[in-house]
Symmetry: none
């Protein structure tokens, strides 16, 4: 996407917000695919169709751009809404999020962004927190509470790990049949898996 795309609302000469957004998407794409070191600002700027100096203007530095791209990463395994819960719903959401191209603006699964390190400690904290949150959310979605009793949280994090692993193996590495498995293909195994890991709490 270039910065100076045609806008429906007439004027389109210099749209700062569009430029920022184009840079952000280009950066996200490259950071996810090539990592922090492998991404050059010149390429990001070229992808966005603007000059390199604008990156400094909008994001200050490469680190700033990375942080912004990280912040723009959608929640991993997040439930879109506070919808019906339980293992079956969870498995269905998982299969959809892992298989689908639910993020047309991201070339790869956005969770991969959470695995990219920039060397900045502050960034690492944010990445870690985002993944911890994913575990918490899965735990909640399964109908459990995070009271720390039992190993429910550990089990939820194993589910997060599975999601991470699937994203990795489907993208960078690419092994079949996992890479091209559809949501339908994944649904049954994931349902078995969720049921085994996070069975619904006993209802007295």
């Amino acid at each position: 996407m270039t910065a100076h795309g045609t806008s429906a609302s007439g004027t389109r000469k210099r749209n700062a917000e569009a430029t920022r957004q184009a840079l952000l998407e280009a950066a996200h794409d490259r950071f996810v695919r090539l990592g922090y070191e492998g991404t050059t600002l010149r390429d990001v700027a070229a992808d966005a169709g603007v000059t390199l100096a604008l990156i400094k203007r909008y994001f200050g530095s490469k680190e700033g751009l990375f942080k912004a791209a990280l912040a723009a990463t959608p929640r991993f395994l997040g439930q879109e809404d506070d919808a019906p819960q339980g293992p079956d719903a969870l498995a269905e959401a998982l299969s959809r999020q892992l298989a689908g191209r639910s993020w047309p603006e991201f070339g790869e699964h956005p969770v991969l962004m959470l695995l990219r390190a920039s060397g900045d400690e502050q960034v690492d904290v944010r990445r870690r927190q985002a993944l911890l949150d994913a575990g918490m959310q899965l735990l909640a979605a399964s109908g459990h509470s995070d009271t720390g009793e039992g190993d429910h949280l550990l089990r939820a994090e194993l589910l997060v790990a599975l999601g991470v692993g699937v994203a990795v193996l489907r993208s960078t590495v690419g092994i079949q049949p996992l890479q091209d498995a559809s949501a339908a293909d994944l649904l049954t195994p994931l349902r078995d898996l969720v049921h085994a890991l996070l069975p619904p709490p006993a209802t007295p």
Copy 2:
């Protein structure tokens, strides 16, 4: 580890094999932690206690060093022997390999090496194959054959994905309680999981 470590047979200064090995381990450690681009040959040489030029001598180039490090990576999720199989044995092996520090010479779980790309296509093929092999092996260990019937291979690869994800979340990212979970902590959830994913084939 430095190249000129004391050996059993007295002190020795010039030892090509020890130098090569020290370089290899230092490289593996940095490649796993920092990736291909993030790893500098100067740092690798410094870790090994030798000069940069020896990397050229022994490995030809950075790519050569990376390939050597990749080749030195132990098999992922490999059964140590052709021992008793079935879900329970598999779960136990998994918990041990994922939790343990079974590789004292590698700072991080060696499977992470398989996720590092160097840009060389030939390398990518090897990485992919190694992970495919892991899936095949898990399938065999569970008592199934890879006849392609059903979704057994897909299920086995989900197990591989889980292993990859656990390794990632325990190392680079580091989320608790998963990061410090012991093999014992992992055993029960993993047993549930393996049983759910790869139940023993029906024996009529």
Copy 3:
């Protein structure tokens, strides 16, 4: 010459064209004197009074710089205009071009640039062609045509060889009295030589 020299219109710090030109002249000078391998980009940049990275900016690489320097080399033994011809005029032009400092911007005789190889095949072709052209031009200037009859072209190339040798012996090597011979000193011997090599064609 440095890049930031004072110009007629006051002092100027940022001038892409001046920088490019300063780099080109510095490069030409060093390539001619030291050859391709013997020339370091750091020294060229220092001569031009700028930083090394600008060479990449303007010329892409060392090869690019070399090609640019080669392209900036004036024609060897070229007649300035389509002026009167014949042996005497030719001898006079030769003596002037070989003796004079007709190229104040080049430290050495520019033909020496044509003797410098960079390893690039494409460059070699250009060098060869430039020297072939010199022979053709001398042939034409002597009043002959290049119909291939007789050994006129060979004789013209012997004249080119003489020019090359004189340039070499006057510059890099430096043998007296040839090195400091003036155009007047060279004129008489060269006239004898041209008359002997390329006598005017018989006019029936």
Copy 4:
């Protein structure tokens, strides 16, 4: 040529002199073709079939090797003996030396070695002297004395320059028809040239 070639006289295990000679020829070949900077000692050693360290043993350093190669260069345009002189004999000798492969052990014309600089001042003096000597010798061969009267020495050096130029254009650059001209092809033009440049002294 390798160092351990079969020798007719029986023993051939470790012949220091043969090794030295093989190194010298390999060095000469590379220095002439690639120049000082372009020549690597490893390649020279490999050409000679020995290890690099022997260069240091026999010649001390790269400079030492270069000096030895320079010293081993045969005299340029030297009359083989103090045989019949005069313009015709001189032209005949010139055509033979410039055209022929009179030096089977040198890939290129050995005079090219005299054009190669190493950066060492002492070396430059030797090169200059060798070329000056060539001029003196031509002068003598033409029947003149170097009393300094007239411009005879300058004319002789123009002949040296011609020889240098022909060697250069026949080897590194390679322009036709000069490159493949035979001694017979060169004889007539050279005779005209020598007669014009160095006519026999008037005999009262």
